[in-house]
């Protein structure tokens, strides 16, 4: 016999199944930027007045920027390509000081884990 609580539980389960689940963390930007995931690492790219900022998280937890060597490769709409160091700041923040790519630029963020040498990329198209 089906009881009301059983129906309610079933409805709750169905609702849970329908909700988006991010297995490796939220893809919602936390700093107003653009978000990409590579492997399990979430990159958030934020153009600011000071330069390009990048935040790293994994499973919704910040990854210490000091544990990575990082750089950014900017390809302008003209095709000109420049590479800039991303400097580790506090917490999970990197900054490429003074780098302000034009609209239409392609930005590749490259990080290398200092402990494992594992390299990861995230590619953004600025609109």
């Amino acid at each position: 016999m089906k009881t009301e609580p059983t129906r309610a539980a079933l409805a709750a389960l169905l609702l849970t199944a329908a909700l988006p689940v991010y297995a490796h963390g939220s893809m919602e930007p936390r700093h107003g930027g653009a978000v990409q995931m590579t492997g399990e690492i979430v990159f958030e790219l934020v153009p600011t007045a000071r330069g390009l900022s990048v935040y790293l998280t994994e499973e919704d937890e910040p990854l210490a920027a000091s544990k990575f060597t990082a750089s950014v490769i900017v390809t302008a709409p003209s095709g000109a390509k420049t590479t800039h160091a991303l400097v580790a700041q506090n917490g999970n923040l990197f900054l490429a000081p003074g780098v302000r790519p034009a609209r239409g630029s392609r930005v590749v963020v490259r990080i290398i884990d200092k402990a494992t040498d594992a390299k990861s990329f995230a590619t953004f198209q600025l609109t």
Partner: protein, 248 residues
């Protein structure tokens, strides 16, 4: 008690084993696969992921490409027990070629990394060449013939995004479609499958096997260019592509 009929069965099994051993000895290939988020070059067959690091000296070429098939600065770097792709920028595809050298099988069943000049009693001898192309994303433009890929498997048209869908493949040898090449649709999960054979246009149609990594292998045997050293050359080429899974 061993009877005459059971002896016959044993003999048949032994013969089959010898045949399988001979096939396996020359059946290894190279391909690429993700390992702990990095792209690694694999040497082996089926689930046998063998020591690729000690075979790196046999590589004759390695190249990375972007989505427009322009070269990307890239190399293979040893990371622990595997060689991984180390590129300056993201790669949309990579390719490698390996000259695995001359191998001879003597009557005792042993394979030797030497030619008929060293083993004139060999029952078979060959030079083996191995090639690999990996597509990091399903390509939006036609996959071109790549340098150093003497044998290459190309998708004809788009690669379907769902497993089970038919995929036409064309096998090229020396830049031309080749009839009579053998094609294994899933070299990793079913390496002992009966191969398909390319038709006059160099084509076969295979069902895409996996909603994940697919490694198709073609092999093609040509006569020796140095008959005093070996009888034939086996070219073995892989094409690897990955179908996306549902969002997590």
């Amino acid at each position: 008690m061993i009877t005459r009929s059971s002896r016959a069965v044993f003999a048949a099994l032994a013969a089959a084993g010898t045949l399988l051993a001979a096939t396996a000895a020359s059946g290894h290939g190279i391909w690429f696969a993700k390992r702990a988020t990095q792209l690694a070059m694999i040497y082996g067959v089926g689930a046998d992921d063998l020591d690729a690091v000690r075979r790196l000296d046999k590589l004759t070429s390695f190249a990375g490409y972007d989505e427009n098939w322009q070269p990307v600065e890239a190399e293979l770097r040893v990371s622990g027990v595997i060689p991984i792709v180390d590129s300056a920028e993201p790669v949309a595809a990579v390719a490698a070629a390996m000259n695995y050298g001359i191998w001879s099988k003597t009557p005792d069943g042993e394979w030797h990394n030497a030619g008929l000049d060293k083993h004139p009693d060999a029952v078979t001898s060959e030079r083996t060449m191995k090639y690999a192309v990996y597509l990091a994303k399903l390509p939006t433009t036609a996959v071109p013939l790549l340098p150093e890929q003497t044998l290459q498997v190309l998708p004809v048209g788009s690669i379907p995004e769902q497993k089970g869908q038919p995929l036409t493949l064309r096998v090229y040898y020396d830049g031309k479609p080749v009839a009579g090449a053998n094609v294994l649709a899933d070299y990793i999960n079913d390496p002992d499958q009966t191969p398909l054979t390319t038709d006059a246009a160099g084509e076969v149609i295979v069902p895409v096997r996996n909603q994940g990594q697919n490694t198709v292998v073609a092999y093609f045997v040509v006569p020796s260019s140095e008959p005093a050293l070996y009888e034939k050359i086996e070219h073995r080429a892989s094409l690897t592509f990955v179908l996306p899974h549902l969002p997590e």
